[in-house]
Protein backbone atom coordinates (compact mmCIF):
# COMPACT_ATOMS: atom_id res chain seq x y z
CA UNK A 1 0.00 0.00 0.00
CA UNK A 2 2.81 2.36 0.96
CA UNK A 3 4.59 1.53 -2.28
CA UNK A 4 1.38 2.25 -4.24
CA UNK A 5 0.94 5.60 -2.50
CA UNK A 6 4.58 6.46 -3.17
CA UNK A 7 4.12 5.62 -6.87
CA UNK A 8 0.93 7.74 -7.07
CA UNK A 9 2.74 10.61 -5.38
CA UNK A 10 5.62 10.25 -7.83
CA UNK A 11 3.28 10.19 -10.86
CA UNK A 12 1.48 13.27 -9.54
CA UNK A 13 4.83 14.98 -9.23
CA UNK A 14 5.68 14.05 -12.82
CA UNK A 15 2.40 15.60 -14.04
CA UNK A 16 3.10 18.68 -11.95
CA UNK A 17 6.55 18.82 -13.49
CA UNK A 18 5.08 18.66 -17.00
CA UNK A 19 2.60 21.47 -16.20
CA UNK A 20 5.31 23.96 -15.40
CA UNK A 21 4.58 27.21 -13.61
CA UNK A 22 4.44 29.36 -16.77
CA UNK A 23 1.92 27.05 -18.38
CA UNK A 24 -0.28 27.05 -15.28
CA UNK A 25 -0.14 30.85 -15.13
CA UNK A 26 -1.10 31.20 -18.79
CA UNK A 27 -3.95 28.69 -18.41
CA UNK A 28 -5.37 30.46 -15.37
CA UNK A 29 -5.16 33.82 -17.18
CA UNK A 30 -6.98 32.35 -20.16
CA UNK A 31 -9.76 30.86 -18.04
CA UNK A 32 -10.20 34.15 -16.15
CA UNK A 33 -10.47 36.01 -19.47
CA UNK A 34 -13.10 33.52 -20.68
CA UNK A 35 -15.03 33.96 -17.44
CA UNK A 36 -14.90 37.75 -17.81
CA UNK A 37 -16.10 37.64 -21.44
CA UNK A 38 -18.92 35.26 -20.47
CA UNK A 39 -20.13 37.39 -17.56
CA UNK A 40 -19.74 40.72 -19.39
CA UNK A 41 -21.57 39.43 -22.49
CA UNK A 42 -24.41 38.03 -20.38
CA UNK A 43 -24.80 41.31 -18.42
CA UNK A 44 -24.63 43.49 -21.58
CA UNK A 45 -27.20 41.30 -23.32
CA UNK A 46 -29.45 41.59 -20.27
CA UNK A 47 -29.02 45.34 -20.45
CA UNK A 48 -29.68 45.74 -24.23
CA UNK A 49 -31.97 42.78 -24.84
CA UNK A 50 -34.58 42.93 -22.04
CA UNK A 51 -36.70 39.82 -21.27
CA UNK A 52 -39.85 39.69 -23.42
CA UNK A 53 -42.62 37.12 -23.66
CA UNK A 54 -42.16 34.46 -26.36
CA UNK A 55 -38.40 35.15 -26.58
CA UNK A 56 -35.55 32.85 -25.47
CA UNK A 57 -34.55 35.35 -22.80
CA UNK A 58 -36.80 35.04 -19.75
CA UNK A 59 -34.48 35.43 -16.77
CA UNK A 60 -30.78 36.17 -16.03
CA UNK A 61 -29.89 32.48 -16.25
CA UNK A 62 -31.07 32.42 -19.87
CA UNK A 63 -28.60 35.19 -20.75
CA UNK A 64 -25.67 33.25 -19.26
CA UNK A 65 -26.81 30.07 -20.99
CA UNK A 66 -27.32 31.99 -24.22
CA UNK A 67 -23.68 33.18 -24.21
CA UNK A 68 -22.53 29.57 -23.74
CA UNK A 69 -24.63 28.60 -26.75
CA UNK A 70 -22.95 31.40 -28.77
CA UNK A 71 -19.55 30.14 -27.71
CA UNK A 72 -20.10 26.52 -28.69
CA UNK A 73 -22.73 26.44 -31.46
CA UNK A 74 -23.16 29.99 -32.82
CA UNK A 75 -26.39 31.90 -33.27
CA UNK A 76 -28.77 28.98 -33.66
CA UNK A 77 -30.82 29.91 -30.58
CA UNK A 78 -31.06 32.94 -28.31
CA UNK A 79 -30.95 35.25 -31.34
CA UNK A 80 -31.03 38.91 -30.20
CA UNK A 81 -33.54 41.26 -31.80
CA UNK A 82 -32.14 44.70 -30.89
CA UNK A 83 -29.11 46.20 -32.65
CA UNK A 84 -27.00 46.61 -29.46
CA UNK A 85 -27.87 42.99 -28.57
CA UNK A 86 -26.68 41.86 -32.03
CA UNK A 87 -23.43 43.84 -31.56
CA UNK A 88 -22.85 42.16 -28.18
CA UNK A 89 -23.63 38.72 -29.64
CA UNK A 90 -21.27 39.39 -32.58
CA UNK A 91 -18.47 40.53 -30.27
CA UNK A 92 -19.01 37.43 -28.12
CA UNK A 93 -18.72 35.17 -31.18
CA UNK A 94 -15.45 36.84 -32.25
CA UNK A 95 -13.97 36.59 -28.75
CA UNK A 96 -15.09 32.93 -28.64
CA UNK A 97 -13.13 32.24 -31.82
CA UNK A 98 -10.06 33.95 -30.33
CA UNK A 99 -10.46 32.05 -27.05
CA UNK A 100 -10.75 28.66 -28.79
CA UNK A 101 -7.69 29.43 -30.96
CA UNK A 102 -5.53 30.48 -28.00
CA UNK A 103 -6.74 27.60 -25.84
CA UNK A 104 -6.04 25.08 -28.62
CA UNK A 105 -2.58 26.56 -29.11
CA UNK A 106 -1.84 26.18 -25.39
CA UNK A 107 -2.99 22.56 -25.34
CA UNK A 108 -1.04 21.76 -28.52
CA UNK A 109 2.02 23.38 -26.95
CA UNK A 110 1.60 21.21 -23.86
CA UNK A 111 1.20 18.04 -25.92
CA UNK A 112 4.25 18.91 -28.03
CA UNK A 113 6.30 19.57 -24.88
CA UNK A 114 5.13 16.33 -23.27
CA UNK A 115 6.02 14.41 -26.45
CA UNK A 116 9.41 16.11 -26.67
CA UNK A 117 10.13 15.35 -23.04
CA UNK A 118 9.03 11.74 -23.30
CA UNK A 119 12.03 9.67 -22.26
CA UNK A 120 13.77 12.63 -20.58
CA UNK A 121 14.06 13.05 -16.85
CA UNK A 122 11.42 15.52 -15.58
CA UNK A 123 12.22 19.08 -14.63
CA UNK A 124 11.84 19.75 -10.94
CA UNK A 125 8.82 22.03 -10.49
CA UNK A 126 9.35 25.24 -8.53
CA UNK A 127 6.68 24.39 -5.98
CA UNK A 128 7.91 20.87 -5.28
CA UNK A 129 10.07 20.63 -2.17
CA UNK A 130 12.61 17.89 -1.45
CA UNK A 131 14.26 16.80 1.80
CA UNK A 132 17.01 14.25 2.41
CA UNK A 133 17.63 13.86 -1.29
CA UNK A 134 20.92 13.73 -3.19
CA UNK A 135 21.92 16.67 -5.37
CA UNK A 136 24.35 15.93 -8.20
CA UNK A 137 26.16 18.98 -9.58
CA UNK A 138 27.41 18.64 -13.19
CA UNK A 139 26.63 15.64 -15.35
CA UNK A 140 28.98 13.05 -16.81
CA UNK A 141 29.34 9.29 -17.14
CA UNK A 142 30.12 9.22 -13.41
CA UNK A 143 26.69 10.74 -12.78
CA UNK A 144 24.97 7.87 -14.56
CA UNK A 145 26.90 5.37 -12.50
CA UNK A 146 26.04 7.21 -9.27
CA UNK A 147 22.33 7.32 -10.11
CA UNK A 148 22.44 3.59 -10.85
CA UNK A 149 24.06 2.90 -7.49
CA UNK A 150 21.69 5.19 -5.59
CA UNK A 151 18.62 3.64 -7.21
CA UNK A 152 19.80 0.05 -6.79
CA UNK A 153 17.26 -0.51 -4.02
CA UNK A 154 19.80 -2.12 -1.67
CA UNK A 155 19.70 0.75 0.80
CA UNK A 156 17.00 1.09 3.40
CA UNK A 157 16.31 4.67 2.28
CA UNK A 158 15.76 5.27 -1.44
CA UNK A 159 16.59 8.93 -1.84
CA UNK A 160 15.36 11.06 -4.76
CA UNK A 161 18.12 12.49 -6.95
CA UNK A 162 18.19 16.04 -8.35
CA UNK A 163 20.69 16.76 -11.12
CA UNK A 164 21.82 20.39 -11.43
CA UNK A 165 23.56 21.08 -14.70
CA UNK A 166 23.35 23.17 -17.83
CA UNK A 167 21.13 20.99 -19.99
CA UNK A 168 20.09 18.68 -17.16
CA UNK A 169 16.55 18.50 -18.51
CA UNK A 170 17.86 16.92 -21.71
CA UNK A 171 19.20 13.87 -19.88
CA UNK A 172 17.54 10.79 -21.28
CA UNK A 173 16.09 8.19 -18.92
CA UNK A 174 17.44 5.57 -21.31
CA UNK A 175 20.98 6.77 -20.55
CA UNK A 176 20.52 5.92 -16.87
CA UNK A 177 21.68 2.49 -15.73
CA UNK A 178 19.21 -0.37 -15.78
CA UNK A 179 18.69 -0.30 -12.03
CA UNK A 180 17.30 3.22 -12.23
CA UNK A 181 14.80 2.39 -14.97
CA UNK A 182 13.14 -0.62 -13.38
CA UNK A 183 10.84 1.56 -11.31
CA UNK A 184 9.39 5.07 -11.69
CA UNK A 185 12.43 7.27 -12.10
CA UNK A 186 12.78 9.50 -9.06
CA UNK A 187 15.45 11.60 -10.75
CA UNK A 188 14.79 15.29 -11.39
CA UNK A 189 16.49 17.96 -13.43
CA UNK A 190 17.30 21.55 -12.62
CA UNK A 191 18.64 23.46 -15.61
CA UNK A 192 21.28 25.97 -14.63
CA UNK A 193 24.85 26.42 -13.55
CA UNK A 194 25.64 24.28 -10.50
CA UNK A 195 28.00 27.04 -9.45
CA UNK A 196 25.05 29.44 -9.13
CA UNK A 197 23.00 29.82 -6.01
CA UNK A 198 19.70 30.10 -7.91
CA UNK A 199 19.93 26.61 -9.38
CA UNK A 200 21.12 25.11 -6.09
CA UNK A 201 18.29 26.82 -4.21
CA UNK A 202 15.79 25.43 -6.72
CA UNK A 203 17.31 21.99 -6.14
CA UNK A 204 16.71 22.44 -2.39
CA UNK A 205 20.42 21.85 -1.75
CA UNK A 206 19.94 23.28 1.74
CA UNK A 207 17.72 20.36 2.73
CA UNK A 208 19.73 17.69 0.88
CA UNK A 209 21.20 14.61 2.55
CA UNK A 210 24.28 15.08 0.39
CA UNK A 211 25.58 17.16 -2.51
CA UNK A 212 27.89 15.36 -4.94
CA UNK A 213 30.03 17.53 -7.21
CA UNK A 214 31.30 15.81 -10.34
CA UNK A 215 34.01 16.84 -12.72
CA UNK A 216 32.47 18.45 -15.80
CA UNK A 217 32.97 16.25 -18.89
CA UNK A 218 35.15 18.88 -20.57
CA UNK A 219 37.48 21.01 -18.58
CA UNK A 220 38.68 23.49 -21.21
CA UNK A 221 39.03 26.73 -19.27
CA UNK A 222 36.63 25.55 -16.56
CA UNK A 223 39.13 24.02 -14.16
CA UNK A 224 37.70 25.89 -11.22
CA UNK A 225 34.17 24.66 -11.66
CA UNK A 226 34.10 21.94 -8.95
CA UNK A 227 35.61 24.45 -6.55
CA UNK A 228 32.94 27.01 -7.47
CA UNK A 229 30.23 24.37 -7.02
CA UNK A 230 31.52 23.46 -3.56
CA UNK A 231 31.58 27.12 -2.52
CA UNK A 232 28.06 27.66 -3.86
CA UNK A 233 26.75 24.54 -2.12
CA UNK A 234 28.45 25.52 1.13
CA UNK A 235 26.84 28.96 0.84
CA UNK A 236 23.48 27.17 0.78
CA UNK A 237 24.13 25.28 3.99
CA UNK A 238 26.98 24.97 6.44
CA UNK A 239 25.92 21.43 7.38
CA UNK A 240 25.14 19.62 4.15
CA UNK A 241 27.80 16.96 3.39
CA UNK A 242 29.55 17.64 0.06
CA UNK A 243 31.31 14.85 -1.84
CA UNK A 244 33.62 15.79 -4.71
CA UNK A 245 35.08 13.89 -7.64
CA UNK A 246 38.61 15.08 -8.37
CA UNK A 247 40.88 14.36 -11.28
CA UNK A 248 44.13 15.39 -9.63
CA UNK A 249 45.26 15.05 -6.04
CA UNK A 250 46.56 18.63 -6.12
CA UNK A 251 42.96 19.82 -5.98
CA UNK A 252 42.33 18.16 -2.63
CA UNK A 253 43.51 20.95 -0.33
CA UNK A 254 41.61 23.84 -1.96
CA UNK A 255 38.47 21.72 -2.13
CA UNK A 256 38.69 20.79 1.54
CA UNK A 257 39.21 24.45 2.41
CA UNK A 258 36.16 25.34 0.35
CA UNK A 259 34.07 22.96 2.43
CA UNK A 260 34.18 19.54 0.75
CA UNK A 261 33.34 16.76 3.22
CA UNK A 262 34.68 13.75 1.33
CA UNK A 263 36.69 13.47 -1.84
CA UNK A 264 37.56 10.73 -4.27
CA UNK A 265 40.18 11.29 -6.93
CA UNK A 266 40.58 9.12 -9.95
CA UNK A 267 44.32 9.84 -9.84
CA UNK A 268 44.64 8.47 -6.31
CA UNK A 269 42.18 5.57 -6.59
CA UNK A 270 43.37 4.61 -10.07
CA UNK A 271 47.02 4.54 -8.99
CA UNK A 272 46.22 2.48 -5.91
CA UNK A 273 44.20 -0.10 -7.79
CA UNK A 274 46.68 -0.41 -10.64
CA UNK A 275 49.54 -0.91 -8.20
CA UNK A 276 47.52 -3.44 -6.20
CA UNK A 277 46.57 -5.30 -9.38
CA UNK A 278 50.21 -5.51 -10.42
CA UNK A 279 51.25 -6.84 -7.02
CA UNK A 280 48.30 -9.14 -6.49
CA UNK A 281 46.85 -10.30 -9.79
CA UNK A 282 43.06 -10.23 -10.02
CA UNK A 283 42.47 -7.69 -7.26
CA UNK A 284 40.78 -5.12 -9.52
CA UNK A 285 37.92 -7.59 -10.03
CA UNK A 286 37.60 -8.01 -6.26
CA UNK A 287 37.46 -4.23 -5.83
CA UNK A 288 34.82 -3.98 -8.56
CA UNK A 289 32.77 -6.62 -6.80
CA UNK A 290 32.96 -4.87 -3.43
CA UNK A 291 32.22 -1.45 -4.88
CA UNK A 292 29.28 -2.61 -6.98
CA UNK A 293 25.91 -2.13 -5.34
CA UNK A 294 24.39 -5.46 -6.28
CA UNK A 295 22.53 -8.23 -4.51
CA UNK A 296 24.99 -10.68 -6.06
CA UNK A 297 27.82 -9.38 -3.90
CA UNK A 298 28.48 -7.74 -0.56
CA UNK A 299 29.43 -4.16 0.08
CA UNK A 300 30.17 -2.33 3.35
CA UNK A 301 27.37 -0.86 5.45
CA UNK A 302 27.64 0.90 8.79
CA UNK A 303 25.44 -0.36 11.61
CA UNK A 304 25.27 1.22 15.06
CA UNK A 305 26.44 -1.23 17.72
CA UNK A 306 23.29 -2.46 19.50
CA UNK A 307 23.12 -2.38 23.30
CA UNK A 308 23.55 -6.15 23.40
CA UNK A 309 27.01 -5.92 21.77
CA UNK A 310 28.44 -3.26 24.08
CA UNK A 311 31.60 -4.59 25.82
CA UNK A 312 31.57 -7.69 23.60
CA UNK A 313 34.93 -8.45 21.88
CA UNK A 314 35.01 -7.84 18.13
CA UNK A 315 36.09 -11.43 17.40
CA UNK A 316 33.02 -12.80 19.22
CA UNK A 317 30.74 -10.64 17.11
CA UNK A 318 32.67 -11.60 13.95
CA UNK A 319 32.42 -15.37 14.38
CA UNK A 320 28.67 -15.19 15.15
CA UNK A 321 27.93 -12.77 12.29
CA UNK A 322 29.44 -15.01 9.63
CA UNK A 323 26.78 -17.62 10.43
CA UNK A 324 24.20 -14.94 9.61
CA UNK A 325 25.68 -14.13 6.19
CA UNK A 326 27.42 -10.88 7.11
CA UNK A 327 31.07 -10.11 7.95
CA UNK A 328 32.03 -7.24 10.28
CA UNK A 329 35.31 -5.84 8.97
CA UNK A 330 35.88 -2.94 11.33
CA UNK A 331 34.60 -0.51 13.90
CA UNK A 332 34.12 3.23 13.67
CA UNK A 333 34.60 4.63 17.13
CA UNK A 334 32.30 7.29 18.57
CA UNK A 335 35.08 9.88 18.00
CA UNK A 336 35.09 9.05 14.26
CA UNK A 337 38.25 6.91 14.22
CA UNK A 338 37.93 4.02 11.81
CA UNK A 339 39.57 0.74 12.87
CA UNK A 340 39.60 -1.82 10.11
CA UNK A 341 40.37 -5.39 11.14
CA UNK A 342 40.72 -4.41 14.82
CA UNK A 343 42.44 -6.59 17.44
CA UNK A 344 40.22 -9.61 18.23
CA UNK A 345 39.81 -8.73 21.91
CA UNK A 346 38.87 -5.10 21.30
CA UNK A 347 35.56 -4.54 23.09
CA UNK A 348 32.87 -2.53 21.35
CA UNK A 349 31.52 0.53 23.09
CA UNK A 350 28.27 2.44 23.13
CA UNK A 351 28.12 4.81 20.13
CA UNK A 352 30.44 2.69 17.97
CA UNK A 353 29.41 1.66 14.49
CA UNK A 354 30.26 -1.68 12.91
CA UNK A 355 31.43 -1.69 9.30
CA UNK A 356 29.73 -4.78 7.94
CA UNK A 357 30.00 -6.53 4.58
CA UNK A 358 26.49 -7.58 3.59
CA UNK A 359 24.44 -7.88 0.44
CA UNK A 360 21.88 -5.26 1.54
CA UNK A 361 21.64 -2.72 4.34
CA UNK A 362 18.58 -4.38 5.88
CA UNK A 363 20.37 -7.75 6.02
CA UNK A 364 23.34 -6.05 7.72
CA UNK A 365 21.11 -4.46 10.35
CA UNK A 366 18.97 -7.51 11.07
CA UNK A 367 22.00 -9.82 11.28
CA UNK A 368 23.83 -7.60 13.76
CA UNK A 369 20.65 -7.19 15.81
CA UNK A 370 20.20 -10.95 15.80
CA UNK A 371 23.79 -11.43 17.02
CA UNK A 372 23.21 -8.92 19.81
CA UNK A 373 20.14 -10.86 20.93
CA UNK A 374 21.94 -14.21 21.12
CA UNK A 375 21.22 -15.75 24.53
CA UNK A 376 24.68 -17.18 25.10
CA UNK A 377 26.55 -14.08 23.92
CA UNK A 378 27.81 -12.99 27.34
CA UNK A 379 28.02 -16.43 28.88
CA UNK A 380 30.43 -17.49 26.12
CA UNK A 381 32.95 -14.79 27.03
Amino acid sequence: MARLLATIRLLRSHVAAALDTNFQRRLIRLLLAALAVWSLSAVLLYRFEPPTPNSDFQNLGDYFWGVIVYLFSGLEQYVPRTTPGKVVAGATLISAAVFVAVFTAEIVGLVVELTRRRGLIPKKPHGMRFRDHVVICNWSASGMSIVGQLRSGLQVTDRPVVVVSNGASDISVASLPFAARRKPVDVWAVDGSPGGEVALALADAREAACVVVLEPPTRGGRDEEPLVCVLAARAQSADVPIGVEMIEEAERRPLVRAGATFLASSEDIGARIMAQAALNHGLSTVFSQILANSTASCEPYFVTVPEGLVDIPFSECLSRSVMRSVIPIGVRRADGTLMLNPPPQMAMARGDCLAVLASTESIARSAILSVSESRDLRSGM
Binding site: A264, Q276, L279, L283, C298, G330
Partner: protein
Amino acid sequence: MPYEEVCLKRHILLMNWNHKGYEVIENLHSDDVQDPRQIVIVTDKPVSLDPSRPENRGVVVVPGDPCDENVLRMANAERASNAILLSDGDSESTSRSLMMALAIRAVSSDVYVVVEVADDAEKCHFEALGNCVDEIVCPSEYVSRILAQGAVYPDSGVVELYTHLLGQSPNTNEIYLVPMPEVAIGGSFVERFSAIREAADQTVIPIGYTSQADGMRFVAIGPGSGGRHEKERVLQAGDQLVLISMSWPQFSPESGVAT
Protein backbone atom coordinates in the same frame (compact mmCIF):
# COMPACT_ATOMS: atom_id res chain seq x y z
CA MET B 1 71.37 4.96 -12.78
CA PRO B 2 72.05 4.29 -16.52
CA TYR B 3 69.63 1.64 -17.62
CA GLU B 4 72.24 -0.26 -19.68
CA GLU B 5 74.00 -1.17 -16.44
CA VAL B 6 70.96 -2.51 -14.70
CA CYS B 7 70.25 -6.19 -14.77
CA LEU B 8 66.51 -6.12 -15.14
CA LYS B 9 64.56 -9.21 -14.25
CA ARG B 10 61.05 -9.71 -12.82
CA HIS B 11 60.69 -5.95 -12.80
CA ILE B 12 57.56 -3.86 -13.26
CA LEU B 13 57.24 -1.77 -16.39
CA LEU B 14 55.44 1.52 -16.08
CA MET B 15 54.54 2.42 -19.63
CA ASN B 16 53.74 6.06 -20.40
CA TRP B 17 53.91 8.69 -17.67
CA ASN B 18 51.47 11.02 -15.94
CA HIS B 19 50.69 12.30 -12.43
CA LYS B 20 49.39 8.89 -11.35
CA GLY B 21 52.87 7.47 -11.84
CA TYR B 22 54.14 8.92 -8.56
CA GLU B 23 51.32 7.32 -6.60
CA VAL B 24 51.76 4.00 -8.42
CA ILE B 25 55.45 3.95 -7.49
CA GLU B 26 54.63 4.85 -3.89
CA ASN B 27 52.20 1.94 -3.65
CA LEU B 28 54.51 -0.52 -5.42
CA HIS B 29 57.43 0.37 -3.14
CA SER B 30 55.43 0.64 0.07
CA ASP B 31 57.16 -0.81 3.16
CA ASP B 32 54.64 -3.60 3.57
CA VAL B 33 55.03 -4.95 0.04
CA GLN B 34 56.34 -8.45 0.51
CA ASP B 35 58.43 -8.64 -2.64
CA PRO B 36 59.19 -5.12 -3.89
CA ARG B 37 60.23 -5.13 -7.53
CA GLN B 38 62.38 -2.80 -9.51
CA ILE B 39 60.34 -0.31 -11.55
CA VAL B 40 61.24 0.73 -15.07
CA ILE B 41 59.44 3.71 -16.56
CA VAL B 42 59.24 3.64 -20.34
CA THR B 43 58.13 6.99 -21.68
CA ASP B 44 58.94 9.71 -24.15
CA LYS B 45 57.86 12.35 -21.64
CA PRO B 46 60.11 14.04 -19.10
CA VAL B 47 60.08 12.32 -15.71
CA SER B 48 61.35 14.03 -12.58
CA LEU B 49 61.61 11.83 -9.52
CA ASP B 50 62.94 12.99 -6.20
CA PRO B 51 65.93 10.66 -5.53
CA SER B 52 65.82 11.42 -1.80
CA ARG B 53 62.43 9.73 -1.45
CA PRO B 54 62.87 6.06 -0.49
CA GLU B 55 60.18 4.79 -2.85
CA ASN B 56 62.06 6.23 -5.83
CA ARG B 57 65.24 4.23 -5.16
CA GLY B 58 65.96 1.78 -7.94
CA VAL B 59 63.47 3.33 -10.33
CA VAL B 60 64.92 3.42 -13.84
CA VAL B 61 63.70 5.55 -16.72
CA VAL B 62 64.07 4.27 -20.28
CA PRO B 63 63.38 7.21 -22.58
CA GLY B 64 61.52 6.36 -25.76
CA ASP B 65 58.16 5.57 -27.24
CA PRO B 66 56.44 2.89 -25.12
CA CYS B 67 54.65 1.68 -28.28
CA ASP B 68 58.01 0.85 -29.86
CA GLU B 69 59.03 -2.80 -29.40
CA ASN B 70 62.72 -1.93 -29.64
CA VAL B 71 62.42 0.52 -26.78
CA LEU B 72 60.59 -2.14 -24.75
CA ARG B 73 63.37 -4.63 -25.47
CA MET B 74 65.87 -2.06 -24.16
CA ALA B 75 63.83 -2.13 -20.94
CA ASN B 76 64.13 -5.91 -20.86
CA ALA B 77 60.37 -6.19 -21.23
CA GLU B 78 60.63 -9.88 -22.11
CA ARG B 79 61.82 -10.57 -18.56
CA ALA B 80 59.39 -8.23 -16.81
CA SER B 81 56.76 -9.64 -14.49
CA ASN B 82 54.17 -6.87 -14.84
CA ALA B 83 53.40 -3.95 -17.07
CA ILE B 84 51.20 -1.05 -16.05
CA LEU B 85 49.93 1.02 -18.96
CA LEU B 86 49.01 4.55 -17.89
CA SER B 87 46.46 6.56 -19.83
CA ASP B 88 46.72 10.26 -20.68
CA GLY B 89 42.96 10.59 -20.45
CA ASP B 90 42.62 12.50 -23.73
CA SER B 91 40.90 11.48 -26.93
CA GLU B 92 43.98 9.73 -28.33
CA SER B 93 44.86 7.86 -25.15
CA THR B 94 42.79 4.76 -25.97
CA SER B 95 44.49 4.09 -29.27
CA ARG B 96 47.87 4.76 -27.67
CA SER B 97 47.12 2.31 -24.84
CA LEU B 98 45.96 -0.28 -27.38
CA MET B 99 49.23 0.14 -29.26
CA MET B 100 51.21 -0.19 -26.03
CA ALA B 101 49.31 -3.38 -25.14
CA LEU B 102 50.00 -4.91 -28.54
CA ALA B 103 53.67 -3.89 -28.35
CA ILE B 104 54.27 -5.37 -24.89
CA ARG B 105 52.48 -8.60 -25.81
CA ALA B 106 54.60 -8.86 -28.98
CA VAL B 107 57.73 -8.65 -26.85
CA SER B 108 56.59 -10.98 -24.07
CA SER B 109 53.71 -13.41 -23.80
CA ASP B 110 54.21 -13.89 -20.03
CA VAL B 111 54.15 -10.34 -18.69
CA TYR B 112 51.00 -9.50 -16.70
CA VAL B 113 49.44 -6.42 -18.30
CA VAL B 114 47.32 -3.98 -16.31
CA VAL B 115 45.86 -1.16 -18.40
CA GLU B 116 44.21 2.06 -17.29
CA VAL B 117 41.23 3.29 -19.31
CA ALA B 118 39.75 6.75 -18.95
CA ASP B 119 36.20 5.79 -19.81
CA ASP B 120 34.21 2.68 -18.95
CA ALA B 121 32.86 2.58 -22.50
CA GLU B 122 36.38 2.03 -23.83
CA LYS B 123 36.86 -1.24 -21.96
CA CYS B 124 35.40 -3.19 -24.87
CA HIS B 125 38.33 -2.26 -27.13
CA PHE B 126 40.75 -3.84 -24.69
CA GLU B 127 38.55 -6.88 -24.14
CA ALA B 128 38.57 -7.33 -27.90
CA LEU B 129 42.38 -7.63 -27.73
CA GLY B 130 41.91 -10.94 -25.94
CA ASN B 131 44.91 -12.10 -23.97
CA CYS B 132 46.92 -8.94 -24.70
CA VAL B 133 45.53 -7.38 -21.52
CA ASP B 134 45.06 -9.16 -18.19
CA GLU B 135 43.32 -6.49 -16.10
CA ILE B 136 41.50 -3.35 -17.15
CA VAL B 137 41.21 -0.60 -14.54
CA CYS B 138 38.82 2.30 -15.04
CA PRO B 139 39.48 4.73 -12.14
CA SER B 140 36.42 6.90 -12.85
CA GLU B 141 34.21 3.83 -12.45
CA TYR B 142 35.59 3.16 -8.97
CA VAL B 143 35.41 6.85 -8.04
CA SER B 144 31.75 7.13 -9.02
CA ARG B 145 30.90 4.02 -7.02
CA ILE B 146 32.72 5.34 -3.98
CA LEU B 147 30.97 8.71 -4.34
CA ALA B 148 27.60 6.98 -4.65
CA GLN B 149 28.15 5.10 -1.42
CA GLY B 150 29.43 8.29 0.17
CA ALA B 151 26.26 10.06 -0.97
CA VAL B 152 24.01 7.44 0.62
CA TYR B 153 25.96 7.38 3.89
CA PRO B 154 27.64 10.79 3.92
CA ASP B 155 28.81 10.84 7.51
CA SER B 156 29.58 7.15 7.86
CA GLY B 157 33.22 7.26 6.79
CA VAL B 158 32.64 4.81 3.96
CA VAL B 159 34.94 6.81 1.68
CA GLU B 160 37.70 6.62 4.30
CA LEU B 161 37.09 2.87 4.56
CA TYR B 162 37.64 2.43 0.83
CA THR B 163 40.71 4.65 0.88
CA HIS B 164 42.16 2.36 3.55
CA LEU B 165 41.29 -0.81 1.70
CA LEU B 166 42.46 0.30 -1.72
CA GLY B 167 45.85 1.63 -0.72
CA GLN B 168 49.09 -0.14 0.02
CA SER B 169 50.70 1.27 3.13
CA PRO B 170 52.26 -0.17 6.27
CA ASN B 171 49.75 1.61 8.51
CA THR B 172 46.53 0.42 6.94
CA ASN B 173 44.78 -2.84 6.20
CA GLU B 174 44.46 -3.90 2.60
CA ILE B 175 42.69 -6.58 0.66
CA TYR B 176 44.85 -9.53 -0.35
CA LEU B 177 44.20 -12.38 -2.74
CA VAL B 178 46.14 -15.42 -1.51
CA PRO B 179 46.24 -19.07 -2.54
CA MET B 180 43.58 -21.01 -0.65
CA PRO B 181 45.11 -22.31 2.62
CA GLU B 182 44.90 -26.07 3.02
CA VAL B 183 43.04 -25.62 6.27
CA ALA B 184 40.16 -24.18 4.25
CA ILE B 185 40.05 -26.85 1.56
CA GLY B 186 37.21 -29.33 1.81
CA GLY B 187 34.71 -27.11 3.63
CA SER B 188 32.48 -24.19 2.86
CA PHE B 189 33.62 -20.61 3.44
CA VAL B 190 31.46 -20.26 6.57
CA GLU B 191 32.61 -23.61 8.00
CA ARG B 192 36.29 -22.79 7.52
CA PHE B 193 36.09 -19.12 8.51
CA SER B 194 37.41 -19.52 12.07
CA ALA B 195 40.02 -22.10 11.08
CA ILE B 196 41.49 -19.73 8.49
CA ARG B 197 41.71 -16.94 11.07
CA GLU B 198 43.42 -19.23 13.57
CA ALA B 199 45.94 -20.50 11.01
CA ALA B 200 47.08 -17.00 9.99
CA ASP B 201 50.16 -15.44 11.58
CA GLN B 202 48.32 -12.16 12.10
CA THR B 203 44.79 -10.88 12.52
CA VAL B 204 43.00 -11.40 9.24
CA ILE B 205 39.38 -11.26 8.18
CA PRO B 206 38.52 -13.57 5.29
CA ILE B 207 35.86 -11.83 3.19
CA GLY B 208 35.43 -14.15 0.22
CA TYR B 209 37.10 -16.29 -2.38
CA THR B 210 37.66 -16.60 -6.11
CA SER B 211 37.14 -19.83 -7.97
CA GLN B 212 36.70 -21.28 -11.41
CA ALA B 213 33.37 -22.42 -12.81
CA ASP B 214 32.67 -23.36 -16.44
CA GLY B 215 36.11 -22.09 -17.40
CA MET B 216 35.40 -18.64 -15.95
CA ARG B 217 36.95 -17.24 -12.78
CA PHE B 218 34.40 -15.65 -10.46
CA VAL B 219 34.62 -13.67 -7.24
CA ALA B 220 32.33 -14.35 -4.27
CA ILE B 221 32.51 -11.67 -1.59
CA GLY B 222 30.84 -12.34 1.76
CA PRO B 223 29.16 -15.47 3.06
CA GLY B 224 25.80 -14.29 1.75
CA SER B 225 26.86 -13.64 -1.84
CA GLY B 226 25.61 -15.73 -4.71
CA GLY B 227 22.87 -18.28 -4.39
CA ARG B 228 22.50 -21.19 -2.00
CA HIS B 229 24.83 -23.19 -4.22
CA GLU B 230 27.64 -20.65 -3.77
CA LYS B 231 27.10 -20.43 0.00
CA GLU B 232 27.55 -24.17 0.39
CA ARG B 233 30.29 -24.47 -2.18
CA VAL B 234 33.23 -26.53 -0.98
CA LEU B 235 36.52 -24.62 -1.23
CA GLN B 236 39.12 -26.34 -3.37
CA ALA B 237 42.82 -26.23 -4.05
CA GLY B 238 43.32 -23.72 -6.83
CA ASP B 239 40.77 -21.33 -5.36
CA GLN B 240 42.01 -18.06 -3.95
CA LEU B 241 41.08 -16.53 -0.63
CA VAL B 242 40.17 -12.84 -0.37
CA LEU B 243 41.03 -11.37 3.01
CA ILE B 244 41.70 -8.15 4.85
CA SER B 245 45.06 -7.95 6.54
CA MET B 246 47.70 -5.43 7.57
CA SER B 247 50.32 -7.14 5.38
CA TRP B 248 50.70 -10.26 3.27
CA PRO B 249 49.67 -13.04 5.64
CA GLN B 250 51.60 -16.22 6.36
CA PHE B 251 49.80 -19.35 7.53
CA SER B 252 51.14 -21.84 10.05
CA PRO B 253 53.08 -24.73 8.43
CA GLU B 254 50.95 -27.36 10.17
CA SER B 255 48.01 -26.06 8.23
CA GLY B 256 49.99 -26.80 5.09
CA VAL B 257 49.25 -23.50 3.57
CA ALA B 258 50.81 -22.20 0.42
CA THR B 259 52.29 -18.78 1.01
